[in-house]
Subunit: 443 residues, 2 copies
């Protein structure tokens, strides 16, 4: 048992924070640890701090809590820093989207938010280098792919990116009628673009069961489907990508995977995803946002009443998220295999050594050791390099050089762009937004 | 002085062959050499053979000539093999273009011709390995970039690709008012996408003179311009690319350079290139084709009469093409620096070691040694990787695997594609063309 200090940047993401708190409360081996919540939104911070304190009391967990409005103070003495912050929240995203649509980009483009996120991630990583250099930095908010590549190139912070998309493999299992407990899988790639290279049921290849499901049951499944908008794991888009590349796309992968042709308009999205047009359509995304709002409101309400949290919103069982088990593995050498985003270094062939890839990693007191997974099919590798890795590199180049032309490079090659002038208009319109004032150094 | 045997594959490209013959006739140090013309078109072959023999007699050059309809025989004993063949000639290209336009692709897409060209190049390279393994294979026909990358990866033939686009640097000089003789330059990249990293007049940076010309004279130049359709070296497109990437694009580079936005329709092309819409518009290209026809007809006429060739079409002065000087350098150690397409191996940073790049090469009896040129600006490197290198890799993958889906990968990411179904239609339509029957093994 070792005490650790875990600092959460952007802790006002109440749901994320409470999941972490619950997992920590349940983890005997991290007894005595301190959680420091940091957010610039004081009212949300109070809610999270209040709920966490109450939950620890209810579960008799020996945890200490701190709250902070200022980042550098919160990082002092941290052993783990979890960055879950989204600069400007979803409202900036929506405003950029509106401006993008005015420029003719269906569903817009969030490169202002993107650049702010990179700046925050790099700022946090530099503060970690400066204030708590032995801490592990866990990057939880997006863009994990671009951001983790940036911070592992530019700083010496010990950083990993985490996402939960890979659990989609269990959803595949459930839908095709196998017990997820019998399943083991491997799904490497880059974040939000991971592909099942192995899918076993009790040690035997279960891909034939996917094929059977597609041949015999998929049509009916799609006809009767009645899930929520974010449920795209078994969508026609996912099956089409599987047919294209020979591996099943997992988690967030069916949402984009460089397949612009699934996203040209709402009708097309409905055909490829679900009746809402999938996670990222105007319908799906607004369902998602109002779900977030509802859950945040519920947190505020819970904070206001005094009923037991355990029986209500937070039953005392592990969430399945990787953060706390990984902390435990690093602190107490409770070795485990996790899905991590780390600099490639040869783990996934065909991708640059300093590009962050999502692969299995063995985590223990020795640190995080990526598992060499070999390679994806060559066609898929090329597709990912062209549609995701190169745009990421162009995005980082723009961020680092503050060159407006570098932004234009990437936007010109977006499949929605119809002319040079349109791309210029978009750049100017987004840079002109009030909350992008600090991007005016782009020349 | 050393005798060499030079075999020209596709020698019926009469103009190319006669340029080579003239250069050889003028090169004392290659006296006694043999030129073997090979083509499957017997009437063209006869014309070339006839004119070459006559020209050598007129210039009293001691050269021997052979002609062959069959490739393997022509390669026996060759020291140099120059491949200038275009499978199916321009008529197949035009037919594919028509079908492409029917599928909604402005100016079409020649992937049938492309695959045939790769097959021919690889076939020639394998025959060279087999029949004349010490010969140098000079790849002159397109796609030089894709083809040379393919044959240098797949065979051990000693291959280089040649193009004359880099001479465009002298055209830049002439237009901005400097004597090309005073100019030295370096323009690395990949074939048809090369950029002036150095442009000196009498040893001093001459880029400021380009800037001056753009600021003060370009508008007038474009207004008064009265060149031919292929003249795009100093077009608005070229200047725009220069402004985007900071280096002037040379030769064929302004024609595409991954800038799809210059090519959306004829009006757009006219704005970016010239009143014909540049080299590749429906107007420019048909000018180019009828020029080829006219020149071929002139060759047939010359073949029919008996007047002196020297004074008429082929004045006895070196063409400036690199082929014969390179042969001389390799055979007689008449060392020189040329613009060559060879596997990168670190010559141009940021590109894969086994990707063929266009760089200066020192050629001597030791062979061809690429000059390490450093790197292009990072933004430009990323743009080339995304718009030219990745598509090349996807093209080679399709060629090597005979996978229809691999063709689709590349076509889906063509900026003109509007839907998955459109890309499928194009693939099916082009594969259905009679002269693409041997591509029916694509599955």
């Amino acid at each position: 048992m070792t005490e650790a200090k875990v600092t959460i940047i952007g802790a006002g993401s109440a749901e994320f924070s409470m999941t972490l708190v619950r997992d920590l409360c349940l983890r005997e081996s991290l007894k005595g640890s301190t959680i420091c919540f940091m957010d610039i939104d004081e009212s949300r911070l109070d809610v999270v701090y209040g709920l966490a304190t109450r939950y620890a009391r209810e579960t008799k967990a020996e945890l200490k809590f701190e709250k902070a409005l200022e980042r550098r103070g919160a990082l002092q003495g941290a052993d783990f820093v979890i960055n879950t912050a989204l600069v400007g929240g979803h409202s900036n995203e929506e405003e950029e989207r509106r401006v993008g649509e005015e420029c003719g980009y269906y569903r817009g483009m969030n490169f202002g938010v993107y650049l702010h996120q990179l700046a925050l991630m790099l700022g946090v990583a530099r503060d970690v280098e400066d204030l708590c250099r032995n801490a592990w930095l866990i990057q939880a908010s997006n863009p994990v792919f671009d951001g983790c590549t940036l911070i592992t190139r530019e700083t010496r912070a010990k950083a990993i990116g985490l996402c939960h998309g890979h659990y989609g493999a269990y959803h595949v299992a459930r839908v095709i009628g196998i017990d997820p407990k019998e399943v083991s899988f491997q799904a490497p790639g880059v974040n939000h673009c991971i592909w099942m290279t192995r899918f076993l049921r009790s040690g035997k290849d279960a891909y034939p069961l996917i094929d059977e499901w597609i041949a015999e049951k998929s049509e009916e499944y799609w006809r009767l489907w009645d899930g929520d908008a974010t449920d795209v794991q078994m969508s026609p888009a996912a099956v089409s990508l599987y047919k294209m590349f020979g591996l099943f796309p997992i988690g967030d992968t069916p949402r984009f995977a460089g397949a612009w042709w699934h996203h040209t308009d709402l009708e097309t999205k409905k055909r490829w995803f679900n009746k809402y047009g999938g996670f990222d359509s105007e319908i799906g995304w607004s369902h998602y946002l109002s779900g977030l709002d509802r859950r945040m409101e519920a947190m505020f309400q819970l904070h206001g009443d005094s009923s037991a949290l355990v029986s209500k919103e937070f039953p005392p069982e592990a969430s399945g998220e990787q953060h706390v088990p990984i902390i435990d593995a690093l602190v107490n050498d409770n070795r485990g295999c996790f899905q991590v985003n780390v600099p490639n270094g040869g783990a996934l062939e065909g991708f640059g050594g300093d590009v962050v890839v999502e692969v299995p990693g063995i985590v223990s007191a020795r640190g995080v050791q990526a598992v060499k997974v070999g390679k994806l099919p060559r066609r898929l590798t090329l597709h990912i390099l062209r549609t995701l890795v190169m745009p990421m590199e162009q995005g980082l180049e723009a961020f680092l050089t503050r060159d407006k032309m570098a932004l234009l490079d990437r936007i010109l090659l977006d499949h929605r762009t119809r002319s040079y002038e349109q791309a210029q208009r978009l750049v100017d319109a987004i840079l002109a937004l009030p909350f992008n004032e600090d991007l005016r150094d782009f020349r």
